[in-house]
C-alpha cells in the first residue's frame, strides 16, 4: 500500500509539469550565429515560453543575465525557456558562444 502511494505521488510529480501553465510561446531562431528576431516583444506581467530554434550546425548557449537564464541548444535542436512575469522593460540576451554576433533583446510591454 505504501509503495503504491509512493508510486502515485511520483507519477503526479512528473505529470505536473505537463499540466503547469507556461504561457504563450514566442520563437527565436538562431541562424548564422545571429538571433531572429533580435528584438522580441512579449507582454509584461505574463509568464511566456521562448522557443529557441538553432538552425546552425554548431551548438549555442542562450544566455541572459537580465532574465537569469542560460541554456545550451545543440545544432539543429530547440529549447524552451520559461520567463516572466516580467516588469515592462528591456532584457538583453546573447548567444554565449558567438557573443559578437548573436545578441538581442526581449522587450516586455
Amino acid at each position: 500500500m505504501r509503495m503504491r502511494t509512493t508510486l502515485a505521488l511520483a507519477l503526479v510529480a512528473f505529470a505536473l509539469p505537463a499540466l503547469a501553465a507556461d504561457g504563450d510561446a514566442y520563437e527565436l531562431v538562431i541562424k548564422n550565429h545571429r538571433f531572429s528576431p533580435d528584438r522580441l516583444e512579449i507582454p509584461a506581467g505574463k509568464k511566456v515560453t521562448l522557443v529557441v530554434r538553432n538552425l546552425d550546425d554548431t551548438p549555442e548557449e542562450f544566455e541572459s543575465h537580465d532574465l537569469k537564464r542560460e541554456k545550451v541548444v545543440k545544432g539543429g535542436d530547440e529549447i524552451r525557456v520559461i520567463v516572466g512575469p516580467l516588469n515592462a522593460g528591456e532584457y538583453a540576451f546573447v548567444g554565449e558562444y558567438h557573443e559578437d554576433t548573436a545578441k538581442g533583446v526581449v522587450v516586455a510591454k
Binding site: 509539469p17 551548438p59 537564464r69 545550451v72 520559461i82 554565449e96 558562444y97 558567438h98
Partner: protein
C-alpha cells in the same frame, strides 16, 4: 551539588555531539535546483575553520566533484572528500566518496518557486566510521535583482557503525545579481542537531557571512565559476572563523 555537575554535563554533551557530528560532512555549498542537460562540471569546494580554542580549530575540507546533467531533470554527481578534523594533531586524509543525484521535475520558471530533490550516499573511507545518506529539497526563487537559494537536508548514518537520529542541516544564499562576473551574496550554513534534540541551541552549529560569486565565460570552451567567502561561527560548537571557496569549470557537450 546539582549545579556543580552542570558544566561537566554540558562539556560531556558537547564532546558527544562533536563526536557524532564527525560523520556529517562539512559542505559549504548551496546547490541550485536548475539542471543543465549535457553539462559537465568539475568543482573543488573547500573550507578551512579556525578558532581561539585549539579543540575547534584547524579543520579543513576539500571536496572534488564531477557533475553531469543527464537530461533537463536529472543530475548525477560523484565526489571525493579530503578532510582534517578540528583539533590538535589531526592529519588531512581521504574521508569519503559520495554518489549523489538531483531530480528536478519542473523546468526553471515553470512554477513560482524552482525546486528539486537531492539525495546522496556517502561511503566513508575509515572502516570504523558509518556511511551516510543525505536527502532533502533544493529551492530557489528570483526576487527582483536578487536570487535566494535554500538547501534543507536530513543526514542519517547507515551501516554497521551507524547510530543516532537523523541530523538536520541547511545552507542558504541570498545573492545580488549585480554583474555576471561579480555577484555578492550572504550565505548561512547550519546543523540543527539530531531531530530528537534540535530544540537545544547548544547542540547546533550556525555560520553566516559574505561571499563573492561570479562567472567568467570563455565562449565555446565553457565557463569558470568561483565563490570566495568568510563565515563567522555563531555557536560554541562552530569554528569562530571559516574561509570557504569554490572553483568550478563547466562545459556543455
Amino acid at each position: 551539588m546539582k549545579f556543580s555537575l552542570l558544566p561537566a554535563a554540558l562539556a560531556l554533551a558537547a564532546t558527544a555531539i562533536l563526536a557524532a557530528a564527525s560523520g556529517v560532512r562539512a559542505e559549504f555549498k548551496v546547490r541550485s535546483p536548475v539542471v543543465e542537460k549535457d553539462e559537465l562540471s568539475l568543482e573543488q569546494v573547500g573550507s578551512a575553520g579556525y578558532s581561539r580554542s585549539d579543540r575547534r580549530s584547524n579543520e579543513l575540507s576539500v571536496v572534488h566533484e564531477l557533475e553531469y546533467g543527464v537530461n533537463d531533470h536529472l543530475l548525477i554527481e560523484l565526489e571525493g572528500e579530503w578532510a582534517r578534523e578540528a583539533g590538535p594533531g589531526s592529519d588531512r586524509r581521504f574521508k569519503a566518496t559520495t554518489l549523489g543525484g538531483m531530480i528536478a521535475p519542473f523546468a526553471q520558471g515553470e512554477l513560482w518557486l524552482d525546486g528539486a530533490f537531492w539525495i546522496e550516499y556517502g561511503r566513508v573511507n575509515a572502516t570504523t566510521d558509518p556511511d551516510t545518506v543525505k536527502f532533502g529539497p533544493v529551492l530557489q526563487k528570483s526576487l527582483g535583482p536578487t536570487t535566494v537559494t535554500g538547501n534543507f537536508y536530513m543526514e542519517k548514518q547507515v551501516g554497521i557503525h551507524s547510530s543516532g537520529y537523523p541530523v538536520a542541516t541547511y545552507g542558504a544564499q541570498w545573492r545580488y545579481d549585480w554583474l555576471k562576473e561579480l555577484a555578492p551574496a550572504i550565505e548561512v550554513f547550519g546543523q540543527l542537531g539530531d531531530v530528537n534534540g534540535m530544540n537545544n541551541p547548544r547542540n547546533q552549529q550556525h555560520r553566516v557571512g559574505p561571499v563573492l560569486t561570479g562567472t567568467l565565460g570563455v565562449g565555446r570552451a565553457g565557463e569558470f565559476k568561483y565563490e570566495l567567502g568568510y563565515l563567522a561561527g555563531l555557536t560554541n560548537l562552530t569554528a569562530d572563523h571559516t574561509v570557504k571557496w569554490k572553483a568550478e569549470y563547466e562545459i556543455a557537450f
